[in-house]
Subunit: 282 residues, 2 copies
């Protein structure tokens, strides 16, 4: 096991030809697995099927119409067990983060349609005696995704209609009881992009990464039940756990590794240094 | 003009098929432009020519033999004006930074053979009144490459037989008269990889990036004649020059942009943010 192994895990798509483009108004907005196409055939008034792509019906003209039509599909997919139960979060469906979305889709279905998702990940750290300590969360055991795995201090998906700052304030409050004045000090330090495949679903994700240096007397407290516990660990221990175990949720490991590089803790002497950096921005 | 334009300038190779692989012991170590191949035909005891690759002759068995043979070619190329005059720096020729080199080649010929080169770039900065100021160098007007262009405080190629730290100490002394104890504080913060084409030469380069925070009373002074002058500029001005002009040497602009991102100065609100990050690690 190594840091590079963790990065490779995030980019585990060996063959994108297993997926076909999901297209709206001539633009690709996602990737759908060949084997999953037949499940959508039932909705031939919502999708148009071609050999090499699936298009959203051009009959669906407006944001509202498309959103409502897709929501019926999502409801069906949840009932049939193809996706998890509907969440309360809606994600934009577009050609990219800065493009105008065509419609919105429940978070639970995003990876089934291979739609690009975005999130915020905040490294919470404390500087003590010239050493860095990181606040690490452990995900609740009843969380639907990656239960019990280690996580960055605060992380969350980027839903429709919320600015990055508003999302930071919201997630900081929910996940770690960080007051707004402190949360606002989260510093944007980059983005990480990867393409992850799981159970014939595709996650072409981008994480906006933030560093938040916390006072030594601050203790994060979870308020929404999504985090089982927080621990303040010396960064050397976080490095060891990241490199040598799979305890961290796969994409949180990448956020850690990016932190180690930016803070001069993982050095060019590591023979995977260049490949790791490229793997963080696929 | 924009930050993204500067990143795209570093990755200006639209079509790698203009080049054919340069191969040693079955491994590709470089890329040679089709039109340049005929120049090497004179050396048919040193190279073997195939339709889709040029190989170093398998008769050349040792590091020493290969280095000497290639040096004869380099001498000829310099005399004929295909490359600049020989430098005093030898670069390793290998499949990657961490691989054992097959031989060494004068720096002046590296991009003619499309061999991967590595360098160190050090951002020198001062924190004054909660604002960052950067030390920016202007390259001497008689420098053979990119004369008069703006540069990072310290930068240099990574030659054979020198560790990164030794190179930092050497370049810091030569370019900016930074004493060893201060130079050692340069913090590794990442790498930037790009592929740049110029005059049928290919530069698949990697820059190891370092941040060096300097005391406010420190003034860099050039000692080797390669820097015309240093200026301490507010980072906002460096950002403006980087985005809106081509005053910076192309790859130094990328190092600046990486600095702006890591220091929370260039933000995700910039609609090129994700594409810029990916462009820094091609």
């Amino acid at each position: 096991m190594s840091f590079l192994d963790r990065i490779k895990k995030c980019n585990n798509v060996d063959d994108l030809s297993k997926f076909i483009p999901f297209v709206v108004e001539g633009a690709r907005v996602g990737w759908i697995h060949h084997e999953f196409c037949h499940v959508l055939k039932k909705f031939d008034h919502i999708f148009e099927f071609f050999e090499k792509k699936i298009c959203l019906s051009p009959q669906l003209l407006t944001y509202q119409e498309r959103t409502m039509a897709i929501d019926r599909v999502v409801k069906f997919l949840a009932e049939e067990g193809w996706i998890a139960q509907r969440s309360d979060e809606l994600y934009p469906v577009s050609t990219g983060y800065y493009a105008t979305p065509f419609f919105e889709m429940d978070r639970s279905a995003i990876s089934r349609f291979g739609v690009s998702a975005h999130g915020i990940h905040i490294n919470g750290f404390v500087s003590l005696r010239n050493e860095i300590f990181m606040w690490i969360g452990r995900r609740a055991d009843d969380k639907s995704t990656y239960p019990g795995q280690l996580d960055n201090m605060v992380a969350g998906g980027q839903p429709v209609g919320l600015s990055l700052l508003d999302n930071i304030l919201k997630e900081c409050a929910e996940e770690a009881a960080i007051p707004p004045d402190l949360a606002r000090k989260a510093k944007a330090v980059g983005s990480i992009t990867y393409q992850y495949e799981e159970n014939n679903c595709l996650k072409p994700d981008t994480m906006f990464v933030f560093d938040l240096e916390l006072p030594s007397d601050f203790n994060p407290i979870n308020t929404d039940g999504e985090v089982a516990e927080f621990k303040l660990l010396p960064v050397s221990e976080v490095m060891s756990i990241t490199a040598n175990t799979t305890a961290f949720k796969f994409n949180c490991a990448a956020v850690n590794i990016d932190f180690f590089i930016r803070h001069g803790l993982l050095l060019p002497e590591n023979q995977d240094y260049i490949e790791i950096q490229r793997g963080l921005h696929k």
